[in-house]
């Protein structure tokens, strides 16, 4: 408790509050730009913070990392383009809300989700960090493999609407993730001697193509602005009130986000989609999801925001980052001499708890910024196509180029843009493909590791209780959509 009070006093010093505010604003701007995710934002900011006090630098970087997610949700809602993979779930209902002219409401839901999800996540993190780290250690390679398979099958089943098409898209994503050096033997696969993909298909560039370029092309086809009603209705505060009318979803999504966050390697992209799928499953009107259902935005955004603290637990307590952004954050910690591990809570508690307090305050800052700019930002949905389409393309392809300073990345984004467009016309959604691309390396690595541990025996995949539970949940997620109508037919037949 003394450490916590000292941390609060430290954060309230003017230079740390300034770092907090600066990191918040910079993070939101970075998040708004498709392609320039938290990892690129933190990398760009490292020269700026090199001479600062370590705790102040971590406060800036932590605020940047957290707020970039909110920035990404703004573009996900307004232009159907997630700023980062973690915002993929928000487009499912956020963008349709905009098309119905409810952009202000969606932005209110997003800001409130950031406040509530972030607050719940941080409170749990502050008190439960050591225990959560112990639980994460129970997961071995087989458990991680099955967790990723569960995430993919759940998303394939609920997002696509037809399970088999979702699984095909996920399979495509997993196959694309095998391009480049393989994780076990280091053999080059499917590169055709093209150097830019030797390290694998770059994730951000693929995301930019699948969503930003595709969305720009879809908008270019139509003659109207994003908001089909050509007007805005609903206010930010209506979004806030709507949020608090669903306390159960708020709690469920927070817990899902926190649980997913503490599993190294799974990441925020899975948290949002899993929470969305769960909300749809328990809803009395699942058919409204994907058509602009506010509960969909609440679930995905709350889970993504509560996932980040859990992600930090693994990064700080175990040195295992759950995402690319967390990996860069880990690098920043090491640069400033803060060695991650269980002992960091004892050796440098003032630095770590200052970071936690700062991230707690960031949630309130996000809400205030959202309240101030939401209505102005929602005006983007009324811009004519000949302005919004090239703007999306310029900003997203610029972000794609800036990561590695390579023209090849622009071509990769354009290729994925073509793929995303063809998928949409072919009746597929790109979200399972994206998740397959994100989780592919984790799936393959843990698959091989598990087999190495067991000496080639597949029994390791159903040995532990956790594995059995994960297999059962995977089967239920695949057959669940068909059980409902079957049960209905059975009971109607009995009547």
């Amino acid at each position: 408790m003394d450490v916590l009070l000292q941390a609060i006093a430290f954060v309230l010093q003017w230079q740390n509050l300034a770092a907090l505010a600066g990191g918040t604003v910079y993070g939101i701007i970075i998040g708004v730009l498709p392609g320039l995710g938290p990892s690129a934002g933190m990398a760009l900011a490292i020269p700026l913070v090199m001479t600062w006090h370590p705790a102040t630098a971590l406060i800036f970087m932590g605020a940047l990392y957290k707020c970039s997610n909110y920035g990404g949700s703004l573009t996900a809602i307004l232009v159907n383009t997630p700023g980062d993979a973690s915002n993929a779930a928000t487009i499912l209902d956020g963008y349709p809300m905009c098309q119905r002219g409810m952009g202000g409401v969606a932005l209110g839901l997003s800001a409130t989700s950031a406040l509530v999800g972030g607050t719940i996540g941080m409170i749990c993190l502050i008190y439960a960090a050591p225990f959560l780290a112990d639980f994460a250690l129970e997961f071995g390679p087989a458990e991680y493999f099955l967790t990723a398979v569960l995430a993919l099958s759940l998303i394939a089943a609920v997002v696509q609407g037809a399970t088999i098409k979702g699984l095909i898209a996920a399979g495509m994503g997993l196959l694309l993730s095998t391009v480049g050096f393989d994780v076990i033997a280091g053999h080059l696969r499917y590169t055709f001697d093209w150097a830019p993909v030797e390290d694998g298909i770059p994730l951000i560039q693929a995301l930019v193509g699948l969503f930003a370029v595709t969305q720009a092309l879809v908008l270019a086809e139509s003659a109207a602005s994003i908001s089909r009603l050509a007007e805005l209705s609903g206010s930010f505060w209506e979004g806030v009130r709507t949020y608090f009318r669903h306390p159960l979803i708020m709690v469920r999504a927070s817990l899902i986000g926190l649980f997913v966050g503490i599993l190294p390697g799974v990441g925020q992209s899975s948290a949002g989609l899993l929470a969305w799928a769960d909300a749809k499953r328990v809803s009395k009107h699942p058919e409204t999801f994907g058509e602009g259902e506010p509960v969909g935005v609440i679930a995905s955004e709350t889970a993504t925001n509560s996932c980040m603290p859990g992600d930090l637990v693994c990064t700080i307590a175990l040195g295992l980052p759950g995402s690319v952004g967390a990996a860069v954050f880990l690098g920043v910690m090491i640069i400033f001499g803060i060695v991650p591990g269980p002992l960091v809570f004892m050796n440098q508690p003032e630095v770590i708890y200052s970071l936690f307090v700062a991230l707690f305050l960031t949630s309130f800052l996000i809400f205030i910024i959202g309240m101030t700019v939401a209505r102005r930002l929602a005006v983007v949905t009324l811009l004519p196509n000949n302005v919004i389409v090239p703007l999306i393309l310029v900003v997203s392809l610029l972000g794609s180029f800036a990561i590695r300073n390579e023209m090849a990345d622009v071509f990769i984004s354009l290729a994925f843009g073509a793929l995303g467009y063809v998928m949409l016309k072919g009746g597929f959604t790109p979200i399972p493909l994206l998740l397959g691309l994100v989780l592919g390396e984790m799936v393959e690595t843990n698959y091989h590791r598990a087999l190495l541990i067991s000496g080639g025996s597949y029994s390791i995949f159903y040995a532990s209780v956790i594995c059995k539970i994960l297999i059962l949940l995977t089967i239920l997620s695949l057959v669940g959509p068909y059980l409902g109508p079957f049960w209905k037919t059975l009971t109607q037949g009995e009547k």
Binding site: M172, D182, A223, V389, G427
Partner: protein, 162 residues
Amino acid sequence: MKEKLKLTEVWFKIVLLFVFSGFYILAIPYPQESGQFPQLLAAISLILTLAALAADFLRAQVTAGEIGDVDDTELKVVDTATRNVRRRRFYQAWAILLVSTGVGYLGGFLFSTVLLFGGFGLAFGRRENLVKNMIVAVAMTVVVYFIFGRIMAVPLLNGVLW
């Protein structure tokens, strides 16, 4: 509304069959530990795609038998016209995008961005707003250049000719 066989979806799945087969065949010469996982994925994806195609054809046969003598000629005419307009806009967008990217590769960020904004303004904007759209194109280019290139220090495309 009776569901007919969606040709685009069927063709896409047929293309996927070739793609997944390609992944499987290309992995044959790889060492076993490298090729095992992609081959497993390709095989599973191939089976799922075949199952999806089979389901599509079975569903089409069932609905074909149910469709009566409903005359939907008028609907077809409207749909074709809309489809052609959308297709033309799509090809225009791609042409502008590819030409701008090529110009960017040769001349750099500024030329590429002006061409992109100007091209969309010309092709998709109203004729009476032509001058306004061109001014917007130049202004947006300058704004993006200053915000990204100067303030945020994001690396911009230089162009191979300079």
